[in-house]
Subunit: 303 residues, 2 copies
Amino acid sequence: MATDHRPGLDLEALRVLTLVADLGSISAAARAEQISQPSASKRIQVLERQLGLELLDRRTRGAVLTAHGSMVTGWCRAVVEATDALVTGSQALSARAAEQLSIGASQTIAEYLAPSWLGEFRRRGGKPTVQLRVANSQGVIAALRAREIELGFVETPTIPSDLRSRRVAVDRLVLVVAPDHPLARRRNPVSRAELSTMALASREDGSGTRDTLHVAMEHAMAPAAVELDSNAAVKVLVSSGSYPAVISELAVANELRDGRLVEVPLRDVELSRSLNAVWRRGTRLGAAADQFLLTARPRRGRG
Amino acid sequence: MATDHRPGLDLEALRVLTLVADLGSISAAARAEQISQPSASKRIQVLERQLGLELLDRRTRGAVLTAHGSMVTGWCRAVVEATDALVTGSQALSARAAEQLSIGASQTIAEYLAPSWLGEFRRRGGKPTVQLRVANSQGVIAALRAREIELGFVETPTIPSDLRSRRVAVDRLVLVVAPDHPLARRRNPVSRAELSTMALASREDGSGTRDTLHVAMEHAMAPAAVELDSNAAVKVLVSSGSYPAVISELAVANELRDGRLVEVPLRDVELSRSLNAVWRRGTRLGAAADQFLLTARPRRGRG
DNA sequence: GCATAGGTATAGCCATAGGCTATGCCGCTA
DNA sequence: TAGCGGCATAGCCTATGGCTATACCTATGC
């Protein structure tokens, strides 16, 4: 780097910290990361200086987290996990065809679930490189029929009869608004009739999210106020306070948790939906596909 | 760096990418990040090479995301957000006293909610530096009485009468197990009687999580199989498949979403709890504290 | 007790990642 | 057709961050 400028955290340092927490010593973390002990030591030092906190209590027998270090490590783990999702997701996107296992997924699934599945698949010893193709639900089905992919994941409520399917997760669309939107104060649930008249920020035509909403509303919907082609764009617009939106719970989980968006309860409308794995009827899934499907199995509980 | 070694993603590069997505051009992103245009350009190039993906379509009038770029940007945002949480959280921990606003929070709240609140507080124009102290619920109450902090956040179900309180969020403890644990197959809910006999991985004595569980169970509990002093440690142990645990939903939201942990439904037991802001009765909250409290207001909806 | 082992920090050396300025190219737009 | 806004390349330069060698510190073992 040239002139100084502000901190600029180092991802590797964060990873090293989590390893120290797990393994109990800087040396062990260094070995795990394939770097020398002094490098690891320095990285932690730099991190401590950048954050202005003592993270480790250096003992003679190793290093243990301080109280502050324990908090910071927790936050580091979140960063490291998000980074791993980025890397595994990107790898799956860039994997050239002629690889072993090729899957397809619709937008929301690909963005919020696929990286976890890919990571878990590897962690469980899945050998083949997985190639991920992203399309809308119709696109996934088309790719399946064209035998370009072996396994697909779709959000659509309607699955053609030439495909077999299995539920792998449950999702729910929710009505969300900005915290300062009038609807955020709303105590009694919004009825279907009311929802049908709202001018919403909506995903583009052909998206699974929009499909699901329209089917649930039996196509009685006011035209969308704005159409946007990504969940992120919808979220930004909603945050600005202009419009409400109906969007997958997966896409707004973080925002709902910390209050950047607010969920408005609904009364008359059932917006739960299954996320399904789909494959060609009559085909026997390969071992890899089978294992992948197992990895993406549905969660239990209140789902 | 010395010899090469593998990629090593650059956090700044990820942030630049999200800015490009938001602002529509590399130049604009560079200006926003206070770096030169060539630097930003190069960072994106390096990122593209590392991920093996074309992220941007360079037009003459700016740059727009490719389909792959759109996915990657979504994942980048998650990393950037987690990083911001790390930074704001650390700043609040390191802020030296004699600062303007001093708050305290119990573990789970400090780890999973406080960083968001701090960020939101700043974003809304909150001027003062906030100092965050972490303790268990009793410690927070003690600090409040000792006037070391102005505002506290606790998980305890019981709040002393010399304090005023306001609910700021709702949390729920959940029974979780590893996906391959026998209980994960369980269809019918677990009863209180059954839960009371289980050998659980538990948080340490004095933690709000443990308090809540014991109160809900009216102290009819088998002794803990293992006691651990952080949510992270509990999660690791549960993941290994050895024991079930009862833990805050906030702490396991990600793991439940992607199936690394599985929630087991409960029947007889009510493990919802309010997370409360607390302050000294009779004291008028300062303007800053008041604004902070407003930021941490409860979310609506099915909460 | 003293030596050993395992842990950590420091010193010193070097390669390079990554910053900046200057410049060239391209395609809109006036 | 000139100009402008946006992107990439070239060339220079600094300091980041890697490595080895070494010193220090404290349990533990003989």
